[in-house]
């Protein structure tokens, strides 16, 4: 009964994806005490604020979503700055010597960011200043974190929000009506999913190719992004029911799904599914499948 493997690239592989040799390793949460606490606090706070503001959201989705947008953006950038290594920072101590080995999920605990945080703007080559003293970084770290934070906010607004709006429409959001709702919902989803991704990965081409192909190894950032998308997709489920409840109106359930999905994805990504990838071919079984 076995159907022969149709493509030459679907042979089962024991290590996770050496066919993508330039892949960046999964990104762990920063090891500091503050980061660890805040990385749990932030999703909890997000959910509680969302729950508290839910009646207002149902009453007037547009104005509520618009009002919450800057607060969410601020909160999320703070979360990224406190808990995540900024783009360009060296996550793995042995990065330049053997990139393939770091790709494996075993790098989980050992990854300790050295603190020398360098933004890599655009596609200009890596400026690796690994030798700079760790102590000097203390004050400048926050300054160095600010640049990727600003970059992530800009790109989230300019690129991620339009992209997610288009994706929402492709996945069934109204095309001729509810434009403001779609845009605001996409903006919320963009902050949840993309801000951290851009903050961590900058504009690293190979990484974004992986993201486009859904091939990133699991971590808090990618888990949160994928979780947001899957949650929003699942959020469409109650809409056709004939309960005639006000919260069944178009963007509300999608948004609720996105928030829940973000939290779930973040938690799963940094724990159970850390370093695991979605696989679509009939290869080894790993990761999770949406649906």
């Amino acid at each position: 009964m076995a159907s022969p493997p149709p493509s030459p690239l679907t042979t089962p592989l024991s290590t996770s994806a050496p066919d993508l040799p330039k892949s960046a390793p999964p990104v762990p949460i920063l090891p500091s005490q503050l980061a660890r606490i805040y990385s749990v606090l932030h999703p909890a706070a997000l959910l509680s604020v969302f729950a508290a503001r839910f009646p207002a959201l149902v009453a007037d989705p547009v104005s509520e979503m618009a009002q919450q947008l800057p607060i969410l953006a601020l909160a999320h950038v703070t979360y990224a700055m406190i808990c995540l290594p900024p783009a360009g920072s060296d996550v793995s101590p042995s990065a330049p010597t053997s990139p393939a080995s770091t790709a494996s999920g075993s790098a989980t605990g050992t990854a300790t960011p050295s603190g020398n945080v360098i933004l890599r703007p655009g596609k200009v080559g890596r400026r690796r200043t690994r030798d700079s003293a760790a102590g000097a970084a203390g004050a400048s770290a926050w300054g160095a974190k600010l640049a990727p934070a600003l970059l992530s906010l800009t790109l989230t607004t300019l690129l991620a929000t339009p992209t997610l709006s288009i994706l929402l429409i492709l996945f069934g959001a109204p095309f001729t009506t509810h434009h403001v709702q779609t845009l605001l919902c996409a903006a919320h989803m963009a902050i949840l999913s993309s801000t951290a991704l851009i903050y961590v990965h900058g504009v690293d081409g190979p990484v974004w190719k992986e993201i486009w192909g859904c091939k990133r190894p699991g971590d808090a950032v990618w888990g949160g992004a994928l979780g947001t998308a899957v949650g929003a997709w699942l959020g469409a489920v109650p809409i056709p029911l004939d309960w005639d409840r006000p919260w069944q109106a178009y963007p509300i359930t999608i948004l609720a799904g996105a928030y829940l999905g973000f939290v779930g994805g973040t938690m799963l990504g940094r724990s159970l599914l850390f370093g695991k990838r979605l696989r679509f071919d009939e290869g080894e079984e790993s990761g999770k499948k949406v649906d």
């Binding site: 066919d19 192909g213 679509f280 949406v290």
Partner: protein, 866 residues
């Protein structure tokens, strides 16, 4: 060998399926026997106590006469509205329960009972005579028994229901929906003669044109108001005669619709538009009642104009007004507004009492545990929340109490109280009897369910070996079956099933995206014609196939709004295309051109190309002529007028047959004209692709004009899927998903009213159940049929065992979905929506199983692999 037994299991499973459907249906649609015989007055004095108010009745049914067509501001019934203002016409909205199709509704109007759901099927299989009412108690039979004469003109459903009932009759077939005027002229030409005759006491007319306009062009069509003016002029003629002719002095004129229509102009379901036909009692005598009503009124979105009565109320009302006993099976209540035609209160009470006693007999039969006797107070009527049956019993006890206390029916001061008590009982009894569950044969239901479960078990092992392979396609398949199965228990998800398939399809497109973006290379190698990566189209398809799939699916999703909740929202087929005719026609022409290109690309013979071109051009002209006759609003006037002249006359049927013959002969012709000797395998590939393209042309012919551009999207989808390397399981899942998804994209839904009959008579001269049935199926399942064939072309290279795996997967899917629908219908058999939502879904599940799965999928596969 395990493998052999596997394929045998699949064969046995598919053989068992029709049996399961048959057994379950026999339990689910029980034959409800009605009480035979004719009702008589309990004592002969009865007829003298209440003298009849009218001698004759003119009963005019206008098919699909929704309430707002008569009552609203933009109605064409101007004369009728003036009658309402003058008080000569008493207007009502008559609630027509589901199924809102003609035959069950006529049964309700004539017997006063609520017909079983089985009548829907019998309504479609129109030649069936088992559903005759010849031996049942109807107001027609009562009149006939009194030695009166009846005449009938219009829908021949009446002639089938009442064979031998009419002195004079002229039937018209109700199924040629493309005819707007001839059906009605055929009735109207008899009206002046019959109005001069004085031998009849019931003159029945049934006009079909308005329904045909609804089916073809919808309630907003410009034809609709014209037709309303025409009908109004007939009402005017009849009313004028009633005022002038001596022998029509004591005549009641009833004008009613048998059912309404929804916003798309179809009916059969339970939406408010479909269940709200108009009902008017008209006579100059009513002016004496001095009930002046405002008319016309503003449009109501709920279609409830004036007071809403039950359609079954017509029967007892006619019985009272014309002075004959109420038919035995009636569940109707005399319309209280008409009571005032009698002066004496005792007569009114007497009439209501006889109506109550008749309903009470029906209730005692249905609820043998309840005795309905005044002194056997087994229940406490004081406790507030009572079941409806007990409430009815209490109401009857109260009636008896009043009667007993009044010592007969002669104390004037008690009358108003007694009248309201009687009406209260009647209303309660009607409610109880209307919602009383029909007696299912539970044993057959369970037996059918068990057989289906066995089918699932039989197909499970083979499917399981496929699903258990690593990879997420199996998980996706299992989850989609599980969620679909769960969904069948929720009425709103059944109504909005298209949302599920669209939703699942987006996830599947995401899966395909993830799968193909691993190795974004071009896999369209030699076997796909000119497949070669240098071409931009194929490069784009192979890189961004899944995105293109999503994009085109989003367009497809909006093509036809369907379901219940969002059905009225604007979409492409009904809103965008009619207002952008140039775009519409260029897409249609492009679809035909693309089909012709695919056909003629297959081989190089010039004769063959000529044939292809001729047949495609013929098919295109044929579609033009259909559009010209059915939906002229799609054609610009400059084209429409000459086309109409050119195609006038009865040549369309012959033309259709010529085109169909041409399409059918393309396949053998292609064999003949391909000169190069080919190997058997290549020959097989060749003939199946030609078959697929010829089938495309046929399906286009059978589709509504506004749906034709969908086939372009199908081609794109098929090209995208061909550029991906999919396993047998993935192909089977894709095929199933797309079959269901496209069924709804063409405008299908799980409501009877969405069955599209506009292409069911193409090329048919005389009504034939089988041919019309086949054409109806093809025109409604065009999308699924196309995809079964397209998936076959995609699967041409599959090895034998992969084909068997495909069969196993689709059999398992069929059995699992059928079982979930059956289980939902069994468990929810007492649900409020069982006849409006779940039963239609079961009928659709039957069509999916028997016709789409067994015939199209399996038989098609078997025939093609011969």
């Amino acid at each position: 060998m395990a493998f052999l037994s596997g394929s045998w299991a699949i064969i046995i499973a598919n053989v068992l399926t029709p049996l399961a459907v048959l057994v379950f249906s026999s339990g689910f649609f029980p034959y409800k026997p009605l009480i035979p015989g004719l009702a008589r007055f309990e004592d002969d004095s009865n007829s003298t106590v209440v003298p009849k108010a009218f001698d004759k009745v003119i009963f005019m049914v206008i098919d699909a006469l929704r309430s707002d067509f008569v009552y609203s501001n933009n109605s064409g019934f101007l004369f009728t509205q003036s009658l309402i203002r003058s008080g000569a016409a008493l207007p009502f909205t008559a609630y027509a329960s589901s199924p809102t199709v003609t035959m069950p509704r006529l049964k309700a109007i004539t017997t006063g009972s609520i017909p079983s759901f089985l009548d829907v099927i019998l309504n479609i299989a129109e030649s069936d005579t088992s559903s005759t009412l010849a031996y049942q108690d109807t107001w027609l039979a009562q009149l006939k028994a009194q030695g009166e004469h009846l005449v009938m003109y219009g829908d021949d459903t009446w002639l089938k229901l009442f064979p031998g009932m009419f002195e004079r009759a002229d039937g018209t077939t109700s199924f040629f929906v493309s005819d707007f005027s001839e059906v009605d002229n055929n009735v109207t030409r008899h009206v002046p003669d019959e109005l001069l005759q004085d031998d009849w006491s019931a003159f029945i007319m049934h006009y079909l044109g308005l329904d045909h306009i609804g089916h073809k062009a919808g309630p907003q069509s410009p034809y609709m108001v014209t037709k309303q003016y025409e009908m109004d002029s007939i009402v005017n003629n009849i009313y004028t005669s009633m005022e002038q002719e001596e022998h029509l002095q004591s005549t009641l004129f009833v004008l009613c619709g048998d059912h309404g229509m929804n916003d798309a102009g179809n009916h059969g379901g339970s939406s408010v538009g479909e269940t709200s036909p108009a009902l008017l009692f008209i006579s100059p005598k009513f002016q004496a009642l001095k009930t002046f009503r405002q008319s016309p009124t503003d449009s109501h979105s709920d279609f409830q104009y004036y007071r809403t009565v039950e359609q079954t109320d017509i029967t007892p009302t006619l019985a009272g007004l014309l002075g004959f006993p109420i038919p035995l099976n009636s569940l109707g209540v005399f319309v209280p507004e008409l009571l005032d035609i009698w002066k004496l209160s005792s007569q009114k009470i007497h009439l209501l009492l006889s109506n109550s006693r008749q309903l009470l007999r029906k209730m005692k039969e249905t609820f043998p545990n309840h005795r309905f006797e005044p002194h056997s107070n087994s229940i406490n009527c004081e406790t507030e929340p009572l079941p409806d049956v007990d409430m009815a019993e209490c109401a009857w006890v109260q009636v008896n109490h009043l009667l007993y206390n009044s010592g007969g029916v002669d104390k004037d001061d008690l009358y108003p109280e007694l009248e309201s008590a009687l009406l209260r009982f009647l209303k309660l009894a009607q409610k109880v009897m209307g919602s009383a569950a029909s007696d299912y044969n539970l044993r057959n239901l369970l037996l059918g369910l068990v057989i289906t479960f066995f089918v699932v078990l039989l197909s499970f092992p083979t499917t399981y070996t496929l699903l258990s392979r690593p990879g997420h396609a199996g998980t996706f398949f299992a989850l989609s079956i599980l969620s679909y199965g769960g969904m069948m228990f929720a009425s709103s998800y059944v109504e909005e099933e298209q949302q599920f398939w669209n939703w699942a399809f987006t996830a599947w497109a995401f899966y395909l995206h993830g799968k193909t973006s691993i190795h974004p290379r071009c896999y369209t190698s030699s076997q796909h014609g000119l497949g070669n990566c240098h071409r931009l189209y194929e490069l784009v398809l192979s890189r961004y196939g899944a995105v293109a799939l999503l994009l085109s699916h989003r367009v497809l999703r909006r093509w036809n709004q369907t379901g219940q909740k969002f059905a009225a929202e604007p979409d492409i087929a009904r809103t965008l295309l009619p207002s952008h005719r140039l775009i519409f026609w260029s897409f249609v022409a492009l679809t035909y051109a693309d089909t012709c290109r695919h056909l003629s690309n297959r081989c190089l013979s010039r004769l063959w190309r000529l044939c292809c071109f001729t047949v495609t051009a013929g098919a295109f002209l044929l579609k033009l002529s259909y559009v010209a006759s059915d939906s002229p609003e799609l054609l610009p006037e400059t084209i429409f007028a000459p086309l109409r002249r050119m195609l006038g006359g009865g040549s369309v049927i012959i033309f259709t047959r010529l085109v169909l013959g041409g399409i059918i002969s393309l396949v053998p012709l292609s064999m003949y004209s391909s000169k190069t000797p080919q190997q058997p395998l290549a020959m097989g590939v060749f003939s199946s692709t030609v078959f697929h393209d010829a089938l495309t042309l046929f399906l286009i012919t059978q589709s509504r004009a506004t749906n034709i551009p969908i086939f372009l999207i199908f081609r794109l989808h098929a090209d995208i899927l061909a550029s991906m390397t999919l396993t047998a399981l993935e192909l089977a899942i894709t095929s199933l998903l797309v079959q269901y998804m496209t069924f709804f994209a063409f405008g299908g839904s799980n409501s009877i009213s969405s069955i599209d009959l506009s292409n069911a008579y193409n090329g048919i001269g005389n009504y034939s159940v089988i041919l019309v049935g086949i054409l109806t199926f093809v025109s409604n399942w065009a999308g699924p049929i196309w995809w079964v064939s397209a998936a076959r072309v995609l699967r041409l290279k599959q090895a034998q065992h992969e084909r068997k795996a495909h069969m196993a997967v689709i059999t398992f899917h069929m059995a699992a979905t059928l079982m979930s629908v059956m289980a939902a219908c069994t468990i929810l058999r007492a649900h409020l929506f069982i006849w409006t939502v779940f039963s239609p879904k079961y009928l659709y599940a039957m069509a999916w199983t028997i016709v789409n799965h067994l015939t199209v999928n399996l038989l098609g596969e078997a025939l093609c692999s011969l």
